[in-house]
Point group: none
Chain length 209, copies 3
């Protein structure tokens, strides 16, 4: 495989709130990719800022803006009384810091990491996901399904969330690639949310803030 | 056709408020293009911001500014008591996130998406449109009428709104392209508004906020 | 003439307040050019902003600043009680959105469009103008008088306002170009104002705000 694009197959044994596992696709093959979000004290009133680090390219930076707008509106629907996103300084980082990354396919992962932080809930463990998200929650197909699936298994992922538009790519995977991992297909972000935060919630870890 | 510029012919079965369907013209042929607008909580008083994503070029970014100015003034005429645009954080996205887009021809679509959001009304279904808009609502002709019409039909569009200055281009379309789709010609944005929000309103979907 | 730089010879049958007709000179020949100004609700107190769109080059962008400063002071002279420019968000657009434009020769047109908006009065119909304006209202000569005159006639213009420094260029025009159009020469912006807002005012259209 040449130089591994990311140093560790699996960065977290248990992902705490604010983190979601995505899947990247590079010229070196697939790789897991973690979206880390934290909230920083000291926001100005009525002001929301999102600092982004991790050598993200232009398309991926726009994805962070889309993810923030979508997560803010989604949180208002989940819990109209939540003031989490009303005034806050957020920071989103995508390790490893020196590896350039780009593309829109981490959109769903970013929304999920932000909601996990806002809800102060870990997402279902051993889940990884890939999929572009639009400003109204449509989940769009992405590339590299084969490489991403291989990387997901290498990192111990049991459930993989893919865009509904990628069903064909999944069906074309050889058995030795697709076995031992359960695919979930998402048309809208609601599907991603249900899998990450509702289904199999007995596996979830809730942590008090 | 080579690589399809946009992954899905039709992203929405029913477009919710804040979304309007445009038509793009690329070297790959025509394509439907969705303008998504959302309002984000927490605007600073008396301040209007519009975040724009979707890899838009300079001309298309200017189109978003023109669309916002025009939609704000139009909304004041429609409903002088509306405070929707007085202080708000808006976000406009044009999926897919990784596809570079440019040109002024989405102007009418942008105004329509913003008004749909402000009115909290879905626009008439199965309508797509193309046309540059000026700051005082003049609708200017655009390119690619043939390719855009083909793409519109492929996406299930029944009514297409074209600039009045493109009548000639429509008339020159072969019958197999122009059949099964009804053209509407617009000189001024008022014509676009009437078609999207008034005529055939029985087909519209009104949603409470 | 090759590709027409602007799609329609004449965008407006009657120009509403906030619009003035200029004349551009491109490698393709002359063309009419419209300056559109609108005022947007919701300005912050004591703050004047001017958004500018239409792919203007650096010199033309500076012209918009000069025009705004000059129009504000001119308005204070016309009507010391006017508060129009005291706190406002203005937007000036120069269609067509995708056509790059530059140069200082739209200065007089910009001042006129801003004053038309501030006064809420349409300017005299069928007038087009060209001329650089300085911060104290001097009108400076410009290029392309022949091409601009041809374009003005093509668009139905009856009166053309030219810088006094361009008299020689007018006198050198062949008869078939200069006939059926009345030239007016301006040394100072006062001359432009008089022609647009005072003389022939019976032709003007006044609209209540």
């Amino acid at each position: 495989l040449g130089k591994k694009p990311f140093a560790k197959e699996r960065l977290f044994d248990l992902t705490p709130p604010g983190i979601a596992t995505g899947l990247a696709w590079t010229s070196m093959g697939g790789a897991t990719l973690y979206i880390e979000c934290v909230r920083i004290e000291g926001a100005t009133e009525n002001n929301v800022t999102l600092k982004v680090t991790g050598q993200l390219g232009d398309v991926m930076k726009e994805s962070t803006d889309i993810a923030l707008s979508y997560a803010r509106n989604y949180m208002k629907q989940l819990d109209p009384s939540s003031k989490f996103f009303d005034a806050c300084s957020l920071h989103m980082h995508v390790p490893e810091g020196a590896t350039p990354k780009d593309g829109p396919s981490a959109g769903c992962t970013m929304v999920t990491a932000l909601l996990s932080l806002a809800l102060n809930r870990s997402i279902r463990q051993h889940v990884a996901m890939t999929g572009e998200v639009t400003l109204t929650g449509q989940v769009l197909p992405v590339g590299g399904i084969r490489e991403k699936t291989i990387a997901a298994k290498r990192a111990g992922v049991k459930d993989i969330i893919l865009p509904d538009g990628n069903r064909k790519d999944w069906d074309e995977l050889p058995d030795h690639v697709s076995k031992d991992i359960t695919p979930h297909f998402a048309q809208h972000y609601d599907d991603v949310y249900r899998i990450c935060f509702t289904e199999g919630s007995s596996e979830g870890i809730e942590k008090e803030g």
